[in-house]
Protein backbone atom coordinates (compact mmCIF):
# COMPACT_ATOMS: atom_id res chain seq x y z
CA UNK A 1 0.00 0.00 0.00
CA UNK A 2 2.98 2.21 0.34
CA UNK A 3 3.07 4.80 -2.40
CA UNK A 4 6.71 5.67 -2.01
CA UNK A 5 7.33 4.63 -5.59
CA UNK A 6 4.72 6.92 -7.14
CA UNK A 7 6.01 10.26 -8.30
CA UNK A 8 4.75 13.21 -6.30
CA UNK A 9 2.51 15.79 -7.94
CA UNK A 10 4.47 18.42 -9.81
CA UNK A 11 4.95 21.53 -7.74
CA UNK A 12 4.07 24.83 -9.42
CA UNK A 13 7.10 26.80 -10.42
CA UNK A 14 7.80 29.72 -8.09
CA UNK A 15 6.78 33.08 -9.48
CA UNK A 16 9.61 35.42 -10.39
CA UNK A 17 10.77 37.68 -7.60
CA UNK A 18 9.86 41.24 -8.37
CA UNK A 19 10.56 44.60 -6.83
CA UNK A 20 12.44 45.48 -3.69
CA UNK A 21 11.09 43.72 -0.60
CA UNK A 22 11.85 46.55 1.81
CA UNK A 23 10.25 49.18 -0.42
CA UNK A 24 7.19 47.00 -1.02
CA UNK A 25 6.65 46.22 2.66
CA UNK A 26 7.33 49.75 3.90
CA UNK A 27 5.12 51.38 1.29
CA UNK A 28 2.39 48.80 1.94
CA UNK A 29 2.41 49.72 5.60
CA UNK A 30 2.73 53.47 5.11
CA UNK A 31 -0.18 53.95 2.72
CA UNK A 32 -2.79 51.21 2.35
CA UNK A 33 -2.56 49.67 -1.11
CA UNK A 34 0.66 51.44 -2.06
CA UNK A 35 2.66 48.21 -1.80
CA UNK A 36 0.39 46.55 -4.35
CA UNK A 37 0.59 49.64 -6.53
CA UNK A 38 4.37 49.43 -6.38
CA UNK A 39 4.21 45.76 -7.35
CA UNK A 40 2.09 46.67 -10.39
CA UNK A 41 -1.16 45.34 -8.93
CA UNK A 42 -2.62 48.77 -9.47
CA UNK A 43 -6.31 47.97 -9.57
CA UNK A 44 -6.05 45.83 -6.46
CA UNK A 45 -3.99 48.52 -4.75
CA UNK A 46 -6.66 51.13 -5.39
CA UNK A 47 -9.39 48.76 -4.21
CA UNK A 48 -7.49 48.05 -0.98
CA UNK A 49 -6.85 51.76 -0.44
CA UNK A 50 -10.56 52.49 -0.75
CA UNK A 51 -11.58 49.62 1.54
CA UNK A 52 -9.11 50.47 4.30
CA UNK A 53 -9.82 54.21 4.09
CA UNK A 54 -13.57 53.65 4.22
CA UNK A 55 -13.10 51.51 7.30
CA UNK A 56 -10.99 54.21 8.97
CA UNK A 57 -13.33 57.04 7.96
CA UNK A 58 -16.41 55.21 9.22
CA UNK A 59 -14.56 54.52 12.46
CA UNK A 60 -13.77 58.23 12.86
CA UNK A 61 -17.30 59.23 11.91
CA UNK A 62 -18.62 56.93 14.65
CA UNK A 63 -16.11 58.51 17.07
CA UNK A 64 -14.42 55.21 17.86
CA UNK A 65 -11.30 54.86 19.95
CA UNK A 66 -7.94 55.21 18.22
CA UNK A 67 -5.93 53.19 20.69
CA UNK A 68 -2.81 54.33 22.44
CA UNK A 69 -0.92 52.54 25.18
CA UNK A 70 -2.43 53.03 28.62
CA UNK A 71 -0.06 52.28 31.54
CA UNK A 72 -1.25 49.31 33.56
CA UNK A 73 -3.41 47.96 30.72
CA UNK A 74 -1.20 45.59 28.71
CA UNK A 75 -3.94 44.71 26.22
CA UNK A 76 -3.87 48.27 24.97
CA UNK A 77 -0.37 47.54 23.63
CA UNK A 78 -1.83 44.95 21.25
CA UNK A 79 -4.71 47.22 20.31
CA UNK A 80 -2.32 50.10 19.67
CA UNK A 81 -0.15 47.91 17.45
CA UNK A 82 -3.26 46.85 15.54
CA UNK A 83 -4.32 50.47 15.11
CA UNK A 84 -0.86 51.56 14.07
CA UNK A 85 -1.07 48.92 11.36
CA UNK A 86 -3.00 51.46 9.30
CA UNK A 87 0.30 53.31 8.83
CA UNK A 88 0.38 57.00 7.99
CA UNK A 89 -3.34 57.58 8.68
CA UNK A 90 -2.77 56.61 12.33
CA UNK A 91 -0.13 59.27 12.84
CA UNK A 92 -2.11 61.81 10.84
CA UNK A 93 -5.16 61.25 13.01
CA UNK A 94 -3.28 61.11 16.30
CA UNK A 95 -0.70 63.85 15.94
CA UNK A 96 -1.88 66.18 13.18
CA UNK A 97 -5.64 66.10 13.57
CA UNK A 98 -5.53 65.33 17.32
CA UNK A 99 -8.31 62.84 16.83
CA UNK A 100 -9.86 61.47 19.97
CA UNK A 101 -12.77 59.11 20.13
CA UNK A 102 -15.84 59.95 22.13
CA UNK A 103 -16.63 57.31 24.69
CA UNK A 104 -20.07 58.86 25.20
CA UNK A 105 -20.84 58.69 21.48
CA UNK A 106 -23.53 56.21 20.43
CA UNK A 107 -21.24 54.60 17.85
CA UNK A 108 -18.14 54.38 20.02
CA UNK A 109 -17.87 50.57 20.14
CA UNK A 110 -18.64 50.17 16.46
CA UNK A 111 -16.23 52.93 15.55
CA UNK A 112 -13.47 51.26 17.54
CA UNK A 113 -14.12 48.01 15.70
CA UNK A 114 -13.93 49.78 12.33
CA UNK A 115 -10.68 51.54 13.27
CA UNK A 116 -9.06 48.34 14.52
CA UNK A 117 -10.24 46.52 11.42
CA UNK A 118 -8.67 49.16 9.18
CA UNK A 119 -5.33 48.68 10.92
CA UNK A 120 -5.49 44.89 10.81
CA UNK A 121 -6.51 44.90 7.16
CA UNK A 122 -3.45 46.94 6.32
CA UNK A 123 -1.19 44.57 8.27
CA UNK A 124 -2.55 41.73 6.13
CA UNK A 125 -1.79 43.82 3.05
CA UNK A 126 1.80 44.15 4.22
CA UNK A 127 2.05 40.36 4.48
CA UNK A 128 0.42 39.99 1.06
CA UNK A 129 2.92 42.41 -0.48
CA UNK A 130 5.70 40.40 1.16
CA UNK A 131 4.36 37.18 -0.35
CA UNK A 132 4.08 38.77 -3.79
CA UNK A 133 7.58 40.17 -3.72
CA UNK A 134 8.94 36.76 -2.65
CA UNK A 135 7.13 35.10 -5.54
CA UNK A 136 4.79 33.05 -3.32
CA UNK A 137 1.64 34.74 -4.57
CA UNK A 138 0.48 36.06 -7.87
Amino acid sequence: MADSGTPSAPQPAPLPVQGNAAVAVLSAWLIPGLGHFYLRRRLRGVAFLVLVLVSILVGCWLEGNLYQVVPGQPLTILATLASMGMGFPYFLLRYALHYQGNIMGPGYEYGTAFLLTGGLMNLLLVLDAWDIVRGKKE
Binding site: L51, S55, I103, Y110, A113, T117
Partner: protein
Protein backbone atom coordinates in the same frame (compact mmCIF):
# COMPACT_ATOMS: atom_id res chain seq x y z
CA UNK B 1 -27.97 55.88 10.19
CA UNK B 2 -26.72 54.62 13.54
CA UNK B 3 -28.60 51.39 13.15
CA UNK B 4 -26.98 48.26 14.53
CA UNK B 5 -28.14 46.31 11.51
CA UNK B 6 -26.86 48.78 8.91
CA UNK B 7 -23.49 49.05 10.64
CA UNK B 8 -23.27 45.28 10.79
CA UNK B 9 -24.05 45.03 7.07
CA UNK B 10 -21.50 47.74 6.25
CA UNK B 11 -18.86 45.97 8.33
CA UNK B 12 -19.62 42.62 6.70
CA UNK B 13 -19.49 44.27 3.28
CA UNK B 14 -16.06 45.79 3.89
CA UNK B 15 -14.57 42.63 5.39
CA UNK B 16 -15.96 40.26 2.78
CA UNK B 17 -14.86 42.51 -0.09
CA UNK B 18 -11.40 42.78 1.43
CA UNK B 19 -10.88 39.06 1.89
CA UNK B 20 -12.35 38.12 -1.46
CA UNK B 21 -9.84 40.46 -3.15
CA UNK B 22 -6.99 39.32 -0.92
CA UNK B 23 -7.45 35.58 -1.09
CA UNK B 24 -8.83 34.94 -4.58
CA UNK B 25 -7.68 35.99 -8.03
CA UNK B 26 -10.36 34.81 -10.46
CA UNK B 27 -13.52 36.91 -10.71
CA UNK B 28 -15.89 33.97 -10.19
CA UNK B 29 -13.91 32.75 -7.18
CA UNK B 30 -13.90 36.24 -5.72
CA UNK B 31 -17.66 36.56 -6.04
CA UNK B 32 -18.15 33.13 -4.54
CA UNK B 33 -15.95 33.86 -1.52
CA UNK B 34 -17.52 37.31 -1.11
CA UNK B 35 -20.98 35.79 -0.91
CA UNK B 36 -19.82 33.09 1.49
CA UNK B 37 -18.25 35.55 3.93
CA UNK B 38 -20.95 38.20 3.60
CA UNK B 39 -23.86 35.82 4.04
CA UNK B 40 -21.99 34.02 6.81
CA UNK B 41 -21.40 37.23 8.77
CA UNK B 42 -24.84 38.80 8.30
CA UNK B 43 -26.68 35.51 8.59
CA UNK B 44 -24.62 34.48 11.61
CA UNK B 45 -25.32 37.84 13.27
CA UNK B 46 -29.04 37.50 12.67
CA UNK B 47 -28.98 33.92 13.95
CA UNK B 48 -27.24 34.94 17.18
CA UNK B 49 -29.66 37.85 17.57
CA UNK B 50 -32.58 35.47 17.11
CA UNK B 51 -31.14 33.04 19.69
CA UNK B 52 -30.64 35.89 22.18
CA UNK B 53 -34.11 37.32 21.65
CA UNK B 54 -35.79 35.50 24.60
CA UNK B 55 -33.22 36.80 27.07
CA UNK B 56 -33.86 40.19 28.67
CA UNK B 57 -31.32 42.85 27.85
CA UNK B 58 -31.12 44.26 31.39
CA UNK B 59 -29.93 47.71 32.38
CA UNK B 60 -27.20 49.37 30.29
CA UNK B 61 -23.64 48.69 31.36
CA UNK B 62 -22.01 51.47 33.39
CA UNK B 63 -19.53 53.65 31.56
CA UNK B 64 -16.04 53.16 33.04
Amino acid sequence: MLSHFLLMVLYALLVSLFFSLLWRRGRREQIRLFLQIFIGMVGGGLLVAWLMYPFPSGPPAPIP
